[in-house]
């Protein structure tokens, strides 16, 4: 009678799910995901936003960096559908171009965090002992800082700039992956097949790659997806604090920061970039939640 938890979280197990058990776990996951309307709408928004970003040069009505002081701080109108900023730059065009930066920052920062974090976690979990202690104490040190502060100090050290923001946000995110992977490896190691592989004399790297990695990849995918959202927020926070991308680069957080002083006179400068951040983060979160439900609803991420 103990029910297996479900994608929606509270529906009763039905005939179809029972049938799916015969299929490969990945295909089941995919099927559950496709049926999740929230996740699919998240994906749809994400695809649209990515398309807009990629096609920005074709869609944008203006050069995003073209200064036209005569038309500064103009309210949304036919000429500038989202208005203009202090320098008379078209906000719509800047948001389109800003999308490229935001998405790239999110992906690369997570790429950095995940690749380093996974390697550390695998080593710590698989080899244990002194190596494990050293790595985990290092992780503890990094964890003792609130994430944004860590990113802030790193950017302070490297100097502001797009690349440095990605590195800083990436490094600040390592701990999550290291801990997750280590935990998964520790429990996966207990499995009979790993034990068996060892007995047969399989080399470590094969065991790691063939037997352990596939087991932990699910949670990592979920964490990474949700982390893209967090990374976008962190990066835009840094830009908002003035430590992010350099002018005139159109980045949503930086645009918000630029518009802050003109909040009363020209609220559109802050309104739209903030909306853009929220929509993209929201869509990624929706997709990430769906992924988690599909892969393992009991995952604690």
């Amino acid at each position: 009678m103990t029910a297996v938890a479900k994608s929606s979280g509270c529906s009763v197990e039905d005939e179809r799910t029972r049938r799916m058990r015969a299929e490969s776990p990945w295909r089941i996951a995919l099927r559950i995901l496709v049926r999740n309307r929230v996740a699919m709408s998240g994906l749809a928004i994400l695809v649209i936003m990515s398309l807009l970003a990629v096609l920005a040069p074709a869609i944008a009505p203006y050069d995003p960096d073209a200064v036209d002081i005569l038309h500064q701080l103009e309210a949304p109108s036919q000429a500038h559908i989202l208005g203009t900023d202090l320098y008379g730059r078209d906000i719509f065009s800047r948001i389109l171009y800003g999308g490229r930066i935001t998405l790239v920052v999110g992906l690369i920062a997570v790429g950095i965090a995940a690749s380093i974090g996974i390697v550390l976690g695998l080593i710590a979990g698989f080899y244990g002992g002194a190596l494990d202690s050293i790595i985990m104490r290092l992780v503890d040190v990094l964890l003792a800082f609130p994430r944004i502060l860590l990113a802030l100090s790193i950017v302070g050290m490297l100097g502001p700039g797009l690349l440095n923001v990605m590195v800083a946000v990436g490094i600040a995110g390592i701990t999550g992956y290291a801990r997750l992977v280590r935990g998964s490896v520790l429990s996966a190691k207990e499995n009979v097949y790993v034990e068996a592989a060892r007995v047969v004399g399989c080399p470590d790297h094969i065991i790691l790659r063939r037997h352990l990695l596939p087991n932990i990849i699910g949670p990592v995918i979920v964490l990474a997806t949700l982390d893209v959202a967090a990374a976008i927020l962190s990066a835009s926070s840094l830009s908002f604090l003035g430590l992010g991308v350099q002018p005139p680069t159109a980045e949503w957080g930086a645009m918000l920061n630029e518009g802050r002083q003109y909040l009363r006179t020209a609220p559109w400068i802050t309104l739209f970039p903030g909306l853009a951040i929220m929509i993209s983060v929201l869509s990624i979160n929706m997709l990430g939640d769906g992924l988690r439900d599909a892969l393992d609803p009991r995952m604690k991420i």
Binding site: C10, A144, L149, L152, L256, G274
Partner: protein
């Protein structure tokens, strides 16, 4: 239990050593010369730079500076701020309460919104109420808090301009009134993740056999939810609160900047920007210690909430 706490406290020592060492070298590598910064600001003469460097002990070799710093830090003395001229510990003592006040305010907001939305959603599972709650929750998580802050500020000051009434003070310090808006902004994001967790955790518990048993025994729905379900749903929530406390501490950086509040978060940011090493050291040390202690408290509280958990 006591031995467990003792061990955890002992582990904190090397971690804290790691933290201060990391910060020391990170800060050392930050570009900038405090002596030149001080003098450039005052229009001072360049001849004075060397003398000031000497006075500030910046000309000593790095290992000497590090050992001096470490030996002082062990005694709880982080020296004097380069720019504020006050003892670092005094600066922290002046700023920490404001940050804790804000973090607690935000926590209260998060708990209030998070629990009510989470429980409501769980009880009305798969209805429009559930969906609305969850949409609000995910929106809360996805909304940049500085943006929310600006929107609220805009709203309040627009009302003030058109109707001549100030609903709530927006900036600065002061009684509980000044705390409301910043707490809502900071707490809202946490309330989102909290609501989601409370919901799923409640659902899981509600499916357990003892709930069915309790209901079968004829206990009212209300009693079952409050006495049995909520208590057991609390464990994962408490874990998350421990983690979220770090978010709150970090989030105060931005909230304190936007709302012109004093606090430890902004002290750290300012100190990083001005390369005021002693202040960064002291403030990060205190933040890290607080953070670790909170996590320890969280672990201890498991045992209180769930008697099945024992530490040895």
């Amino acid at each position: 239990m006591l031995r467990y706490i003792q061990r955890r406290l002992l582990i904190m020592i090397p971690v804290l050593w790691g933290v201060v060492t990391l910060v020391f070298f990170l800060m050392y590598m930050l570009p900038g010369d405090p002596a030149a910064t001080i003098l450039a600001q005052s229009g001072g003469k360049a001849e004075a730079i060397e003398k000031l460097r000497e006075q500030l002990g910046l000309n000593d070799p790095l290992p000497v500076q590090y050992m001096r710093f470490l030996s002082n830090a062990v005694r709880g003395d982080f020296g004097n701020s380069i720019f504020l001229r006050q003892p670092v510990m005094q600066i922290i003592a002046e700023n920490l309460p404001a940050t804790i006040e804000l973090a607690i305010g935000a926590l209260v907001v998060a708990l209030a919104i998070g629990f009510s939305m989470g429980i409501l959603a769980a009880l009305k599972c798969n209805t429009w109420v559930d969906r609305l709650c969850m949409l609000t929750a995910i929106a809360g998580v996805s909304m940049p808090n500085f943006w929310l802050a600006l929107l609220i500020m805009y709203l309040i000051s627009a009302i003030n301009t058109y109707y001549g009434v100030l609903i709530l003070p927006i900036t600065g310090q002061g009684g509980i009134q000044h705390l409301i808006v910043p707490s809502i902004v900071l707490g809202f994001a946490v309330s989102g993740s909290l609501a989601r967790l409370v919901r799923s955790s409640m659902l899981e518990v509600l499916r357990q056999e003892y709930i069915t048993t309790a209901r079968a025994k004829g206990l009212s729905r209300r009693v079952v939810i409050l006495r049995h379900a909520l208590r057991n749903a609390l464990i994962p929530v408490v874990t998350m609160l421990g983690l979220q406390f770090g978010y709150l501490l970090g989030g105060t950086v931005i909230i304190e900047t936007v709302f012109s509040r004093r606090g430890l978060g902004r002290t750290i940011v300012d100190a990083i920007v001005w390369k005021d090493l002693p202040v960064v050291q002291g403030a990060v040390f205190v933040t890290a210690t607080t953070y670790m202690l909170v996590n320890l408290l969280v672990d201890i509280s498991y045992a209180v909430i769930d008697p099945r958990i024992r530490y040895s």
